[in-house]
Amino acid sequence: MAEFQVNKTFAEINEKIKQGRAVVVTAEEMIDITREHGAVEAARKIDVVTTGTFGIMCSSGAFLNFGHSNPRMKAQKVYLNGVEAYAGLAAVDVYIGATQVKEDDPLNKVFPGRFRYGGGHVIEDLVAGREVQLQAISYGTDCYPRRSYERTMTLKDFPDAVLLNPRNAYQNYNCAVNFSKKTIYTYMGMIRPECSNANFSTAGQLSPLLNDPLYKTIGMGTRIFLGGGVGYVIGAGTQHNPGVRRSENGVVMGGAGTLAVKGDLKGMSSRFLRGASLTGYGCSLNVGIGIPIPILNEEMAQFTAVSDAEISVPVVDYGNDYPNMAGGPLAYVTYAQLKSGTITFDGREVVTAPLSSYSAALEIATILKEWIQSGQFLLGEAQETLPSVPFAGFPNLAKS
């Protein structure tokens, strides 16, 4: 009762990786391979397809344990370079969130605010090995008498530092325009009035969840490239919504699936974890993520062959519709059109610009490919899959 013509398991692919025999390509390379040889043949040839993305991911942060002082202290409020970290945990555990803004920041009082330093920058500084000033205050207890503590620390002084992001790697997203009469400053960048420019943010054909649109291989336990180091998918991210409209190839036509990820901050690099300042909006963190997709069968080969021209992106008005939860997509454009630099929309040419770096995404996919080829990076089989929806299958891959 073979469902597919090609059937491979994680264990078989991992065995090939260990022997250095696994055939690994990037999601960009996979497009032509599948086009040329067909999905069945591609599935026979290729074992793993690597993906990548490097964009602003606000739902990110790090758990830090800063070690006990003498005398001991149960930290109540903690600041790292003046940025508050959530301390409502055990004595010396905190969580620094990417969008937390430095205490004395003028915010949007002089509009648009610049938000020059925040939690994302603290994380970048730590990963880069730079010194960070820790300040903590407390009320004092019998077992934790100390009331205040200050220390200059670098990442290696923290007994534990774990990047733990509740929502990353959004599967597809909006293309933002502005039909209002004034320039707006959003998490999608600065958008000029009367639809004069359009911003988008996705790695498109390289994006992890667009290459496994129904989450058939990516789930809890998937080993990934995270911020330049190794991490894991620990489940669906917040707002994960598989029920978004899909085109025939199973690819979602708007923001849908998301991932929660985790990894040891100490193995990461500031090249792939970068603090970001979004004028008029706030602080954030650019996160680099790469996910390997095992080509278990011809269906996975077909999924990973998705190209920019086959990915539809909704155009959304951020001037009025988005903030007020009004209206729907104004139109759909493809990622290929967006990448060309202009879209024709509403009878006019609109200049487009990406917010997530395609060249960095490609670099991540290539690094991950090399890790796997070198035999060091084995695939983690999902212990639990993410909530998904049924898929009718590709018509060209009718099941026998």
């Binding site: 002089v110 009035p193 420019n197 911003n199 603090g275 979004l278 610009a353 917010l355 060249s359 490609l362």
Partner: protein
Amino acid sequence: MLKSRLRNASEIRSERTGSNNRPDRPCNWKGEHMASRNVLLIFKSSIMYKPVIYRLARDFDLVFNILEAKIMPRREGRLILELRGDDELMEKGIQFLRDHQVVVEPLKDRIRREEDYCVHCGACTGLCPTGALSLVRPELKVSFDVDKCVACGVCGLVCPFGAMKDITLFDPFAEGRTAAESGD
């Protein structure tokens, strides 16, 4: 404080980028190559109202194009000019301005991209009015052509990583909307 914008950014954009086949080096009417340079001129209050700029054309055969201007009455005037003409005469023209106490700074010297900070996201490319910052296809890296830059300051405002330095020429009050913004 009076901010005047003689030409808005989108006009410059359409002129510069609308014709992508524009030769990199402009020609004069005889078809000879002319040098082109973007400069910032600062006029202190003492010389603000003296007629000097017209002499660039009269005495040095330079074509000048006013890209941006801001005059703070009785305090200071700032102009960004695109100068075109013969290389040697351009040097002489600039020297002439300096001799008349005009501060002349080539924009090239004031503006740069911090290469280590740039992640080639492209966020600046949709807003740069002159195409100085642009995506190079197919690899989608962002190139910065300082010769096309008119120091409008927009990239400094939108770059999430602070990669574009010293571009807010017209904003002595540092934060807030730049000159490029206010005219829109």
